[in-house]
């Protein structure tokens, strides 16, 4: 389940008013989330939640559900 907070950070980074984002949604399915924007979205999530991702963690993300779980795991540490 994608939290409203994660969803809002993604939408605001991509300048979208609304978009359905579910666990299985992948980055290329969201308008504006292309390879050039990917780093911006990741940095925005890191800043918002005050967490740090390692490169390998970012590369393993397959969908937004993975991103949510990564954020959750960092916050519980």
């Amino acid at each position: 389940m994608i939290s409203d907070e994660v969803k809002q950070v993604i939408l605001s980074t991509l300048k979208l008013d609304t978009w359905e984002i579910r666990d299985e949604t992948t980055a290329p399915q969201i308008p504006g989330w292309d390879s050039l924007m990917h780093v911006n979205v990741i940095i925005a999530i890191e800043k918002h939640f005050n967490v740090r991702f390692r490169n390998i963690e970012v590369l393993k993300l397959k969908n937004i559900g993975d991103l949510q779980r990564l954020v959750d795991s960092k916050l519980t540490k």
Binding site: P31, G32, D34, L36, V39, N55, L59
Partner: protein, 570 residues
Amino acid sequence: MNTRSEILWNRWCANSEKHPDRDAIIHWVAGEEPYRWTFANLISVAESLSVSLLENGIVKGDVCAIVMRHNKYLYPLYMAITNVGAIPAILAYPNPRLHPDKFRQGLEGMSQRSGLDWILTERELEPPITPLVQKENSTIKGLHFPLEWDEERRVNEEARAHLMAVHNSIRRSDPLLLQHSSGTTGLQKPVLLSHRAVLQHVEYYGQAIGLNDLDKIVSWLPLYHDMGLIGAFHLPLAFGIPAVQLDPFEWVLAPSLLLEAISKEHGTISWLPNFAYNLLADKILDEDLEGISLHTLRMVINCSEPIRPESHYRFIKRYLSYRLNPLALSTCYAMAESTFAITQTPPNVAPSCLSVDNSALAKGHVRSTSNGVHARVCVSSGKIIRGCQVRIVDENRNDVEDGNVGEIAIHSVSMFDGYRNYPEKTAESLIGGWFFSGDYGFKYKDEYYIIGRKKDIIIVAGNNIYPEDVEDAVSKVKGVVPGRVVAFGEEDEEIGSEQISIIAETNVRIEAEQSNLKMEIIKAGMAIDLSIKRVYLVPPRWLIKSSAGKPSRKANKERTQNRAEPLRWS
């Protein structure tokens, strides 16, 4: 070896005999130990793959498209194709965003234009590609899955003799490789290069950048792009020095991987398109740079996109404390039609920057100015490399005097022989041995400055996008007046590149419906793997037509930028 008859395979074998245990290609995958191909291993596996290619019916002159992800066997496979006299053409692996039908259509257009004979790919792409092979009048004879072959099998004497007979029939003037310009619908221009062109280029360009035995190339560039294929693959392999190959998909998601590879492998040379300087300067946090040292880098060469001085300043500022030599930043002007480089700045010399009067420049004259408000800073792409000649010409293709803007025309010993199966395009641009590039620039004190282009191509992060591709996709969106769309590039200073903008005529007036329409237009771009960043919706008959009766990209772009009248834009 008589160098006058030498072909690439012989050069690679000579390098393997000279330095059998030297690293040739270091295949880099994030989070894993890199796989290190020595020159001897690479030749041995390539030879084995050559036999498999012959057994699978591939013969001299066949065009073999390679559609694969970052895989360590891609390099020996490419070499093997050349060893049997066939012609490798590396194509981009489809992005997950690209609809399978669109991928197939793009491949079909390419195959009709280039005459692709075989597709060497991964099993995963069998379903979308098979219908294309089965289609009536398809040029494609079949699909192969070389990653399922036994790459390490021993080659028996009979097979070796057969291979040798095939190999001995290859001439230096024979085609070595096929490269495609970007695009998705078959608008790509297939550039065929000979062994002679590539070997000659390696020698002369190597001299221009002072390539030596201690150099090590580090690259994330895709091998379907001339900068990656010639600069970061052919150049080191023919010269006998190592190259570190990163996965372009991984790099763009985690750009600090390039710096990690340079630091760990003591890389000395890297080519980057302009946007990469911005990305590396602005989007990497200090925590990702722990232990990084860039002191071994002697050249970081900016190529493939218009060079923006601000990008260099930002990059130098960011990495000075990581021991970057500011004089390592260098520039180059290159294109696939002349194999790769045409001009290059020398090692250890900062590229010249010229502050010129912008309004005079718009009229085609170069006037130095110190008035910052009306100035444009142009960055030199350096002097002509050996074996190349450059002219700056007016619209009648007469030479203009130094200090005046014109189209850049090139003559080179490494010139292509024309676009494959595209005589009309060849006739337009290759005249009397001179290639008319469509790029605008000027010569000043023996250095060349590239400032724009005649063609409407949009360059996004080093990739050439044909506006026709975007317009065609957007025209089909319900609510857009068919054929009443223009696509063009708009400068994005933050990323240091261009982004795609659209102006579309529509009868839709209600604001909420216009928002939906904009989203549908953006999604139409996504379906062909293109990001449309800005959508301008305008009423019917708003677009200015050119003298040919089609909406003019240039005039309509200027109209939106002048904002003389209200527009709806995303």
